[in-house]
């Protein structure tokens, strides 16, 4: 059977390996597996949310309220925006998908950092759009401007991942605003704030306030997620905040019931437990110090991180080999080979997990 041409060029996202796979392949007991490969919250989920889900498990047969009324009301209150400025996605990934399908096509192009979240490119390829990347791996706004000015006729979308996954660096808000001033108002700018809760804790200059952003720049969309600081990675809930004119168009691409009944409940409850998020973020940067110290002691280059992970760039050692060796011991880290890097991304875990990981890393790089 013949399929649409664009499929020939599609690549699949390489997800972090699941615990189940390590159990199956290496016969390691689930309790002995440490998974620090997918930037999940090591504290799990707020007990309040777990309780709420147990109490509403009997509603699994019911489709969710597809207007997402209660969740939008809660997000609207949190961010001081109108509910009409909000769209809900199955993870912020899906909002990226909506945005790309609304704006990109086989006759235009999208621009992103040299190394950034893989789904931008994957979704863009679904539309046949051309992909431009900055020469710099991380976000360098001069580089962005250079490519943008060179390819102004083609570029319809720009992605800024603040902070950037899988590298961890983050631009300052003021620099971003200055950059946005120089971009044509018909270009859609996606500001991916999936890890912004972490960045803003470490440095207030990194904080992006969605209301301020979309008021100043009507061509931007801010993305947030419940997958990271809120501890709901497995429940697939994210959101986009933008001018109503953008939300309306993206809404046309949203299929009904795009999040589950329990996901909706979980997100609503998670917003009520800010303490859990605060604790998560604070502990994250406390524990990150261990990884920074280790890297310095062993002359491993690392990227100053504004997220819940740290990326080690190796010179002598082969990162893939290290990741493979640790995998056999039940430690799942993220080899960044598919991003063209000799690097490993490590999610900051619980204290005892980090200690064991660093212990095994020490042995592996000897």
């Amino acid at each position: 059977m013949k399929f649409n041409d664009k499929l020939a060029n599609l690549i699949n996202y390489e997800a972090g390996k699941p615990i189940e796979l390590v159990v199956r392949e290496f016969g390691i007991a689930p309790k002995d597996v440490i998974k620090l490969a997918s930037n999940e919250n090591p504290f799990g989920t707020s007990p309040r949310v777990i309780e709420a889900i147990k109490n509403c498990a009997q509603n699994m047969y019911l489709y969710p309220d597809d207007s997402y009324y209660e969740l939008k009301e809660a997000l609207s209150a949190k961010f001081n925006v109108n509910t009409k400025n909000i769209i809900i996605g199955s993870g912020s990934d899906q909002v990226i998908e909506f945005a790309v399908h609304a704006k990109a096509n086989s006759k235009n192009a999208v621009l992103m950092a040299g190394v950034t979240f893989a789904m931008y490119e994957i979704y863009a390829k679904h539309t046949g759009a051309k992909i431009y990347r900055t020469q710099a791996k991380g976000h360098n706004l001069e580089d962005f401007l250079k490519v943008y000015n060179d390819k102004k006729d083609e570029i319809s979308m720009i992605f800024l991942c603040l902070p950037n996954n899988p590298l961890g660096e983050c631009l300052n808000r003021d620099d971003v605003y200055e950059f946005l001033e120089q971009i044509d108002k018909d270009v859609m700018i996606v500001i991916d704030g999936a890890y912004n809760e972490f960045a803003r804790f470490k440095d207030k200059n990194k904080e992006i306030c969605p209301k301020d952003l979309i008021t100043k720049f009507k061509n931007t969309i801010f993305l947030g997620t419940f997958s990271k600081a809120y501890g709901l990675g497995g429940m697939r809930v994210g959101y986009g905040i933008a001018d109503e004119s953008i939300i309306n168009e993206l809404g046309k691409l949203r299929a009904p019931f795009n999040i589950t009944t329990l996901s909706l409940k979980a997100a609503i409850e998670a917003l009520k437990d800010q303490e859990f998020v605060d604790k998560t973020v604070e502990a994250n940067f406390q524990e990150m110090k261990k990884y920074e110290k280790f890297a310095k002691e062993h002359n491993i280059e690392f990227i100053d991180s504004y997220t819940n992970f740290i990326t080690y760039n190796f010179e002598r050692e082969n990162a893939s080999e290290i990741a493979k060796n640790l995998l056999k011991k039940g430690i799942i880290l993220r080899d960044l080979k598919s991003y063209g890097m000799n690097s490993i991304r490590i999610t900051i875990g619980l204290p005892e997990q980090n200690d064991r990981v660093l212990d095994e890393l020490r042995k592996a790089i000897k």
Copy 2:
């Protein structure tokens, strides 16, 4: 901001109204609302599944095993197909989306019944494909062949909904097979079996065996769902079964983690409780008799249904008015106005729900 042209033509799916909306709009207590608008399982979810979800709620922070290994193994055993013949979607809806994006485009067309599941058209419009419908509302294979032969150069996909939502009728398997023999092997045929568990119980001639189907016709994809007989509408899990060559292409369009961690668990557990499904299906047709009897008594035309709903076609009365009147009393039925019909689709509920609905309907049509 300018958006892609195709967005101008997009329509949104009109979902059944949620209980929450009736509570908000009419101030009716949730326990007094009867929702028979979305073909959810009135028996809820298997107690075994509810228990499993309560026990795994603490895993919400973890992304699912994106290979869906355990679920595919279970489906593979159930249908006696290879796991490579299976793709998992966020509801079978999403598998429809994958199929359409793999095959349809602005230069070809899709063919479907006059009145059938709305998402076929909605997804097809995302690709810019042309839509052809048979003149007959329900599935009439002569009509299908007529349009197909007329538009052979354009048609790249055909949808057969067996049984058909929102009408309820169902073709015989042998007739479907005979039809499939006459279709070019490069045309993708989607056999939507979302309600096939119901149809096969009522009449063995309606049963589609996916293995048999895809072995005989390598251009077909069979769709199944956990939303109906399995009582997991809110959890968004469906599947497609097809030749590996089709599954591979559709897989390129699947984003990672397209179902949630709890949805995955729920589907795996639901497959272990066949008794729940059997009980659901049997009770469904028992209760449906009440609706058939009522219709006959009141001279309402109804469609002989092979599903978990029944569709009443009104002549004298205005179906939308009736639906609105019942809504104010806390009874949510599905007005089929958006399908161009003066009809109401009623999900078969629990005995006491059906009695109340019929009681109110009796008053409404007087």
